[in-house]
Symmetry: C2
Subunit: 241 residues, 2 copies
Amino acid sequence: MTDQPRYKQIKDHIIHHIRSGEWPADSQIPSENELLKELGVSRMTVNRAVRELTAEGVLRRVQGLGTFVAGPQPASVLLELRNIADDIRERGNTHSTEIIMKETIQASKDQAQTFYISEGDELFHTILLHKENDLPLQLEDRLVNPKTAPDYLECDFTETTPNAYLVATNPADEVEHLVEAQLPSTETSSHLQMKNGEPCLLLNRRTWSSGQVVSVAKLYHPGNRYSLGAHFHSRKEAVDF
Amino acid sequence: MTDQPRYKQIKDHIIHHIRSGEWPADSQIPSENELLKELGVSRMTVNRAVRELTAEGVLRRVQGLGTFVAGPQPASVLLELRNIADDIRERGNTHSTEIIMKETIQASKDQAQTFYISEGDELFHTILLHKENDLPLQLEDRLVNPKTAPDYLECDFTETTPNAYLVATNPADEVEHLVEAQLPSTETSSHLQMKNGEPCLLLNRRTWSSGQVVSVAKLYHPGNRYSLGAHFHSRKEAVDF
DNA sequence: AAATCTTACTTGTATATACAACCTACAAAA
DNA sequence: TTTTGTAGGTTGTATATACAAGTAAGATTT
C-alpha cells in the first residue's frame, strides 16, 4: 500500500467512522472546520474529500446546516442492461430487424392498468425480431402509448429501432425492469430458432417520460445465446457476495 | 435558468465541444493552462471542472500527457440486484438455510482461472439452499478463496449467510455478474422443488476484494417463483426503452 | 549506436485566503 | 403576537500559489 493523498485519507477516515457505526445514518458529521482542526489539513482538502463523498452518495450536505450521513446504500449491486442494437454493433457484427407485427389495438384491462389509461383506449403494438448476423437474438414485443408517441407506427423499423425512435422523441427518465426465465411459446421459440424445451431469458421493461408510461416491452432472448452481464467497480461501499 | 457557478459553466463548455463533434472521442482537449487563458479563470476552477468530468467518465486524464475525450458512454440502464436474505425479510417472511454441501476441494483448471490461482490449489465449496417460509427460493453453489477467508468453513451457515459473513470479513469492492436462463440439472431441480422442464434463472456472481477474487457463486432460482426487478429513476441522463 | 541527462510541458495535490449563499436561533421592533 | 433584523454558524465557490510526479522529446554523454 503506497502513500495515499490526504483527501483520500480523509475520505477513508469518514467512511471508516460510518462503517464502524460511530456515525449512524442521518446523523450529522463534524463540520469542515472541526475536521480540519482534528486532522491538521486545510479546509480545501477537507472540502474535496466531503464533496466527493457527497457526489458518490455517501454523504448529504445542506448549505448553512451541515453534513449528514446519507442513509444506508441499498444493499444491492447494479447490473448493466445494454440496448441490443448497440451491443451487436460493438461486437463488430451487423444488426438487422425483421418486422413481424405492426398494429393498433384496444387496451385490455391488464394493459390499461400498466399504462394507467382506460380499458379500450388505443395502444400501438409491434413485434420485431432483432438479429445478429442473421441469427435471431431478441424478440421484441412492444406496446406504445399513442398519447406520447403518436407517429410511432409510421417509423421504418428496419432503419430505426423502436428504442432509438423513442429515445429521440421522448426524454425518458424512469424505467422498471423485471428479468425472468421462461419457457417460450411455440411461436416465440420458432421465431428465435430455439430448440425444443430450451428456456429463454425474458426482460420486461416499462419506461416513463415525465410521469406517463411511454412503452412496455417484453424482450425475449434465447437462453443459450444471450446473457446479461456486468462488471461493477465500487470505490465507496461494500458490495454483496 | 439562474446563474451557474463557473466550474459548472466550464463543464458545460467542454461537453458542448464534445457533443458538437468538435472534440471527437479519444482526441486530446486543451490543457488546463490553455483553458484558463481562454476562459479567464484560475487553474483550480478548470481543474475542478475537468476532474469532475473525469469522475463522471466523460474524460480520461493521463498525468504528464494530457486530457482526452473518453469515447461514448455505454447507453445502458441499471438493474438492481438484491441479496436474497434481506429480500425475504423485507417481504416480512422468514428466511432459513439448509446446508447441502460443505467441503474443501482442489481447483480445476477452469476454477483456477476464474480465481487467478494455480490448478490444484485449495478452494472452499459450499452448497446451500435458501428458503422463504420453507419454500426453496435459491440454490447457492459457492466457491471461496481460502487465502482471503481462511475460516469460511467454520461459519454456521444456518445462522449467518455466506454473503453476510464475507461482507463482514472482506470489504468487497468489485463484482461481476452474468444472468442467464438455464434448464437445471435434475439435482438442482429437485432441491428447488421445481416441475420437470421448468427453467431456472441463474445468477453468476464473482466478487473481488483489493484485487483478489474472494468468491464465485452460482445462484439458481426457480423461474416461476423468482425474478430480478428494479425501478430506476434518473435525473441526469436519458434511459433506454 | 546506446544510454543518460535535461528541459518543457502535462496533470495531481495541498495550502491560505476570501467572499457568497444559506440556515437557525435569538433579539428587536412593529 | 407577528414580523423583521441580526449574529454566528454552516457549506459553496473562486483565486493565487506552490511543489510533486509523470511523459515525451531532444541534447548530451558514453
